[in-house]
């Protein structure tokens, strides 16, 4: 254990804790932009600077480990002034359009600019910049990604490196990295090609600004009138916790919280694969297939398609198979009847059951119980049995 003082407060923390973590564990807040608690420290934004007695220049608290007897000051007019300069610099190279930005209201940069009372832009604005004392050239990029998931507005990128690190350290993909030097530095895929990766969207989740957002949630709503519903991802057996962002009874976005079993990480399906919820092809009631006895009858059934299929949109199945809507009771009776007949005629091993990862554990348990106890067969398998 290490003893140190932060802002005069005596505290004790574990060895090799960073000064930032030590402060935060003790409810002392230090502003950060590039730091992410689950990624290795970066030390790029310079907002988390603190003064340490005996060290002549400010140090970044996110990268500095605590040491015995250390005396740390996290705020002083000097430090706040430096932080303000850093923020002014970032904003001097930032589009001035929070009002139409997907991230507004949830943007760390916006929040810090607000708290530090960054001067509002003073005209004349040079080349679309913000004006102010550090007015100057602003990076201008054209968006060009063709992918359906991730919007990359790199003009808003503050080069905090979080996306690069999450892609490398958490995903092991390494689809993006820093390129170029100096003011022109830019995060992009190799050779500035379009993003072509697994599209897990982890980078979107960690981006502190509006540089990375989901294409699917563009213009669907930001913070107002959003109901957040915590649930479990229905896609696979991992069972990641997800949060549905619901606006006017429509799921407009999926996210995941840090303090969940999956630590907030998701895959492409969990994060972006939610539009089946309101999809027209989604089955909402049981259907029973009408198997035609011969071609003539098939034609007849087909001509009366509109009557037999009650889904508002016609189903895109092969025309030789036609379904009719049924109640749950009718459908279940029908299945029970058929299973019984097969079992009597061919024995229980003529039946096999295949269960789904999209069911809960309980449902899967009941299904195998049903197959073994009621049907009497061990022919039971599961899509996630790798």
């Amino acid at each position: 254990m290490i003893n140190l003082t932060i802002d005069g407060k005596k505290i004790t923390v574990l060895d090799s804790t960073s000064v930032l973590d030590a402060a935060r564990q003790n409810d002392i807040s230090i502003p950060t932009l590039c730091h992410h608690p689950k990624l290795t420290p970066f030390g790029g934004c310079r907002l988390c600077i603190v003064e340490v007695k005996g060290i002549p220049r400010p140090v970044t608290s996110c990268t500095t480990p605590v040491s015995e007897g250390m005396e740390v000051t996290t705020t002083s007019p000097y430090l706040e002034d430096l932080r303000k300069t850093v923020l002014e610099l970032i904003l001097s190279d930032h589009p001035n359009d929070c009002m139409v930005c997907e991230k507004a209201g949830d943007c760390t940069l916006q929040e810090l600019a607000y708290f530090y009372g960054i001067n509002p832009p003073i005209p004349p604005l040079e080349k679309g910049g913000r004006g102010g004392i550090f007015a100057g050239e602003r990076r201008v990029y054209t968006k060009r990604d063709g992918n359906p998931f991730i919007e990359r507005a790199m003009e808003k990128c503050i080069l905090c490196g979080r996306c690069v690190k999450v892609c490398d350290e958490v995903m092991g993909v390494g689809a993006i990295d820093f390129t170029y030097r100096g003011f022109k530095s830019k995060i992009c895929p190799p050779y500035e090609r379009d993003l072509d990766c697994v599209f897990c969207g982890q980078c979107v989740a960690v981006c502190p600004t509006g540089a990375l957002t989901g294409k699917m949630w563009t213009l669907k709503g930001r913070q107002k009138e959003i109901k957040e519903v915590d649930t479990i991802c229905p896609y696979c057996g991992v069972g990641c916790s997800i949060t549905l962002h619901v606006r006017r009874n429509e799921v407009i976005r999926v996210s995941s919280k840090d303090d969940t079993i999956n630590e907030g990480w998701l895959c492409v399906k969990g994060r972006f694969g939610y539009n089946f919820i309101n999809h027209r092809d989604r089955l909402t009631r049981p259907l029973i297939r009408i198997a035609p006895k011969n071609t003539k009858e098939a034609q007849k059934i087909r001509s009366s398609e509109d009557k037999t299929i009650s889904n508002s949109q016609p189903l895109n199945f092969s025309t030789s198979h036609v379904f009719r809507e049924a109640s749950w009771d009718e459908a279940l009776d029908y299945i029970a009847e058929k299973l019984k007949t097969i079992k009597e005629k061919h024995g229980p091993d003529a039946i096999a059951g295949l269960s789904s990862a999209r069911c809960t554990n309980e449902e899967n348990y009941i299904f195998q119980k049903f197959m073994r106890a009621s049907i009497g067969t061990n022919n039971i398998d599961h899509c996630a049995r790798f």
Binding site: P41, F42, G43, G44, C45, R46, I49, R57, P58, V59, T60, T63, T64, P65, D81, L82, T85, V86, L89, I90, S92, D93, I133, F134, G136, E137, I158, L159, G161, D177, F178, Y180, R181, G182, F183, K184, S185
Partner: protein, 582 residues
């Protein structure tokens, strides 16, 4: 021969000597002690190609030697023993060397860089044998500590203390890295050392490795130095063959080998943490320290990074003793330092001087003063991270502490002399342009802050400066220095700060009067023709690419200011000095 010598056709001079000597059948004498050596850079670049002729112990040095001069030298001097006095070096040459003390460079220009035997013949590898056979690692470290040697890569950290820290770290695997990235514009001493005496660097690395307990070494060298890479590669192979590198060196049980790693020409990769990740195959971006490389360096293992010049000093210190080395220099800055003397000075080139020598001695005694009788204005030391020192501080001692106090640094040893024709705002802009474009982009103050500084300087030189620009420059400079992550950003504003400190009036003239006192900033100049002196020769009219000059023959001409693009062609072409700029 360094690249300067080669560019001045040094190779041709050598081959001409070879063929001329053959013609007169001198090759028969080779066994009796006459030989032709190609050697590394001597230092005095402005007089390339230099040829030393030593006959019975009498040395004559010829300057500006061209292949077509060789025949006469061979005929008159070698055969008839009559030196050609009008071609030998002049007083400048003698003065250039008088106040210099050569340690690192002592064998550059003497030893044949292509031959390990040549190096061994001048006591080469004797330090290695002494260390491996008779000294414990702790004794080596003690020696280096006593010598007072400080890192020559820029920061000036005491080498012995760094080694000691690394020695004390327990680890199965340690590394030593030689930093030969030399990215400072204007610095070329590391290159000269490697090209002139590569074995001294290898020796330094072996001794360092032994001291800290490393068995692997890397030389991180920029790919833009093909000649240095070639000579170093050859030297490493020779050392391996002779058993100075590899397993069980000289039967002492100590094993060590060196790999060369090429850098891709990023200035920031000279920074030690960036250099390490670059060797590891990642983008060279510095990281915060601690942990220092001494504890967590290459591949996470304890690592020592030393500059080429630092390492090349080691064998000399071991051979001649710590006391000998520390007899040069000042209280806190011991030994000698190599500087690259360039700019508006008569004798440009590499010089090695004892620490503590004054700027005046360097510029006037060694450098021969300002070229063309112009007035000295300032000297820029330490490259893009350094600052400008004005004329009234010429008696400043050149050592780590004094230069830092004056707002500059020793740095890697660049020294650019500026005269009355240099605009200080422009000088600051030049260096900032470099650092700004070489920023790795990781941290905000360096990436955006230096860009803003540059933009402000740019508008000042264009006559668009605003009254509060000086204030913004000062504030932003000090904030960038205070908040940047690595040495690049922390020092990038130095040229601005030091020029603002000593030449504030130049900034003010640019901003308030829209004039450039040194007449450098194009946008602030007006060219006009003096009616009284103009003879109407039409030379300027013909020379002007913009067609801005009108006038009749034999009558004074006029420049139309609206068309003039300020290229200065008229100024250069007028024989009567009738064109003036203001």
């Amino acid at each position: 021969m360094g690249p300067g010598g080669i560019a001045s056709s040094g190779a041709d001079v050598i081959s001409t000597f070879e063929s001329e000597l053959k013609k007169v059948k001198v090759d028969a004498l080779i066994e009796e002690g006459c030989s032709l050596h190609k050697v590394g850079c001597f230092g005095l670049c402005s007089k390339d190609v230099l040829v030393d002729l030593e006959i019975n112990g009498n040395k004559t040095t010829y300057q500006y030697v061209k292949p077509n001069m060789v025949q006469r030298i061979v005929q008159e001097h070698i055969i008839n023993n009559k030196p050609i006095l009008e071609w030998t070096t002049d007083e400048d040459y003698q003065n250039f060397y008088k106040k210099q003390v050569k340690v690192v460079l002592s064998d550059c220009g003497k030893v044949d860089y292509d031959s390990i035997d040549s190096y061994i013949s001048i006591s080469g590898y004797r330090a290695t044998e002494k260390v491996l056979k008779t000294m414990s690692p702790e004794e080596v470290i003690e020696d280096i500590k006593k010598s007072g040697l400080r890192g020559r890569g820029g920061a000036g950290f005491p080498t012995g203390i760094k080694w000691e820290a690394c020695r004390k770290v327990e680890s199965q695997q340690k590394y030593i890295i030689c930093n030969a990235d030399e990215g400072d514009p204007g610095a070329f001493m590391d290159r000269a050392v490697i090209e002139g005496n590569p074995h001294a660097v290898i020796e330094g690395m072996i001794i360092g490795a032994y001291a800290i307990g490393a068995d692997k070494g890397y030389v991180y060298i920029r790919a833009e130095y093909p000649l240095a890479v070639e000579r170093l590669t050859l030297a490493i192979n020779q050392a391996r063959k002779k058993g100075f590198l590899g397993k069980n060196i000289s039967d002492t049980g100590f094993s060590f080998d060196i790999k060369i790693k090429l850098g891709a020409g990023a200035f920031v990769c000279g920074e030690e943490t960036a250099l390490i990740v670059s060797i590891e195959g990642q983008r060279g971006m510095p990281r915060a320290k601690p942990p220092f490389p001494v504890y967590k360096g290459l591949w996470g293992k304890p690592t020592i990074i030393n500059n080429v010049e630092t390492l090349a000093n080691i064998p000399y210190i071991i051979r001649n003793g710590a006391q000998w080395y520390s007899s040069y220099g000042t209280e806190k800055s011991k030994g000698t330092k190599v500087f690259a003397l360039t700019g508006k000075i008569k004798n440009t080139g590499l010089i090695e001087v004892p620490m503590g020598i004054t700027l005046r001695e360097i510029i006037y005694d060694i450098g021969g003063g300002i070229e063309g009788g112009k007035a000295f204005k300032a000297v820029q030391t330490g490259g893009p991270s350094g600052g400008c020192i004005p004329v009234d501080m010429l008696d400043l001692n050149v050592d780590y502490e004094s230069l830092a106090k004056a707002g500059s640094i020793v740095g890697s040893g660049g020294m650019i002399v500026l005269d009355e024709d240099d605009c200080m705002v422009n000088v600051a802009k030049y260096f900032l342009q470099f650092t700004q474009s070489e920023s790795c982009g990781k941290c905000v103050p360096c990436r955006i802050g230096t860009k803003r500084l540059l933009e402000i300087l740019d508008r000042i030189t264009k006559g668009l400066g605003k009254v509060d620009d000086i204030e913004i420059l000062e504030k932003l400079s000090s904030d960038v220095k205070a908040t940047s992550l690595c040495g690049l950003g922390q020092t990038a504003p130095n040229p601005v700060i030091s020029t603002l400190k000593y030449f504030r009036d130049e900034y003010e003239t640019h901003i308030k009067d829209k004039k450039c006192p040194a007449k450098v900033c194009k946008d602030l100049l007006t060219y006009f023709i003096m009616e009284a002196t103009c003879t109407g020769c039409v030379a300027c009219m013909r020379a002007c690419p913009a067609g801005a000059i009108t006038g009749e023959k034999k009558k004074p001409h006029v420049i139309n200011q609206e068309i003039c693009i300020k290229c200065g062609a008229c100024f250069d072409v007028c024989k009567f000095k009738a064109v003036e700029k203001e």
